[in-house]
């Protein structure tokens, strides 16, 4: 386990690379979720408004 983390002395370089990769993935996922959330919130709000008008 120790050797795995140590990466033959290159620990800093290897792990920062992988963490950065993870960061890029997470950031993009978050952007996606945020965009979807915003749109759905708007759509639902509009729908409820329309329904209350007709009922």
């Amino acid at each position: 386990m120790d050797e795995f983390l140590h990466m033959g002395g290159y620990a800093l370089y290897v792990w920062v690379s992988y963490l950065l990769g993870l960061l890029v993935v997470v950031v993009n996922l978050w952007q996606t979720w945020r965009a979807e959330r915003v749109v759905w919130r708007q759509l639902k709000r509009r729908q409820r408004r329309d329904e209350s008008k007709t009922s």
Binding site: G8, G9, Y10, Y13, T32, W40
Partner: protein, 251 residues
């Protein structure tokens, strides 16, 4: 034959098939990514010269590949948008750009992180890294142009022209940077030149590259769909969709 393309591009249809595509892409990306990471970090050998730092390659190369692939996608979508006036192509291109910029950035930073233990310097003006840097500027210019024009459709068309001009220039830029690099570094092997890789190293590389590509497809499709919904709010199919979602009480 192009009627097929037009039908596929109709907002309602695009929304449906892109959703399916995104879902499949997402799950496969996860699957391939997990197994790719397993092979990259655990089940592949260290390099005879570079030791464990070669594992950075399994992040750097997929990122660099994606940075180019995404730009090609943006160019293709731009062409489709300009020639056939298909709006969803615009949305897909706009969604792709920030993702492409992020992966270009990742390629650059992992390139530096790979280079430091190898060459002792954080940055060398190696042909591939230099070309990657210029690609980042191409992405930022594209994103900048899109955001500075207020009128959405005008912005999309201007950005589409820019993307096509950029794609024509990419081979020229690559060729000139290659030439410049060999001029100043002699005929020595540029460090990212790999001799044919053994399967034990090729496998994680392919898995990670494929996983990253599918990740991009999922994210770009989902963002394009979100944009589509916000533009088509008043159409009947969207209303039905929302009503259905509210009725089932989910989301």
């Amino acid at each position: 034959m192009w009627a097929w393309l037009h039908r596929l591009a109709s907002p309602k249809r695009f929304y449906r098939w892109s959703g399916t595509l995104a879902r499949w892409a997402g799950w496969f990306s996860l699957l391939l990514g997990v197994s790719g990471l397993y092979y990259a970090l655990l089940a592949s050998p260290p390099d005879y010269q570079q030791g464990e730092s070669v594992r950075i390659m399994y992040v750097h190369v997929p990122a660099a590949w994606l940075s180019m692939f995404i730009y090609m996608n943006i160019a293709a979508a731009s062409l489709i948008s300009l020639v056939w006036r298909i709006k969803v192509a615009d949305m897909f291109a706009a969604a792709s750009a920030p993702i492409g910029a992020w992966f270009t950035f990742l390629a650059l930073v992992t390139g530096a992180l790979w280079g430091k233990p190898m060459w002792g310097a954080w940055w060398i003006w190696d042909a591939r890294l230099t070309a990657e840097l210029i690609l980042l500027f191409l992405y930022l210019g594209y994103i900048g142009l899109l955001s500075s024009i207020d009128e959405r459709d005008t912005a999309a068309r201007a950005a589409a022209v820019l993307a096509l001009v950029g794609v024509v220039n990419i081979p020229i830029i690559h060729y000139s940077v290659e030439w410049w690099s060999t001029l100043h570094q002699g005929a020595t092997v540029t460090k990212f030149e790999k001799p044919s890789l053994p399967w034990s190293m090729l496998r994680p590389l392919l898995l990670m590259s494929l996983s990253a590509t599918l990740f991009y497809i999922m994210v770009a499709m989902r963002q394009a769909r979100a944009e589509l919904l916000s533009r088509e709010t008043d159409s009947s199919w969207v209303r039905e969709l929302v009503a259905g979602q509210l009725g089932s009480g989910s989301r």
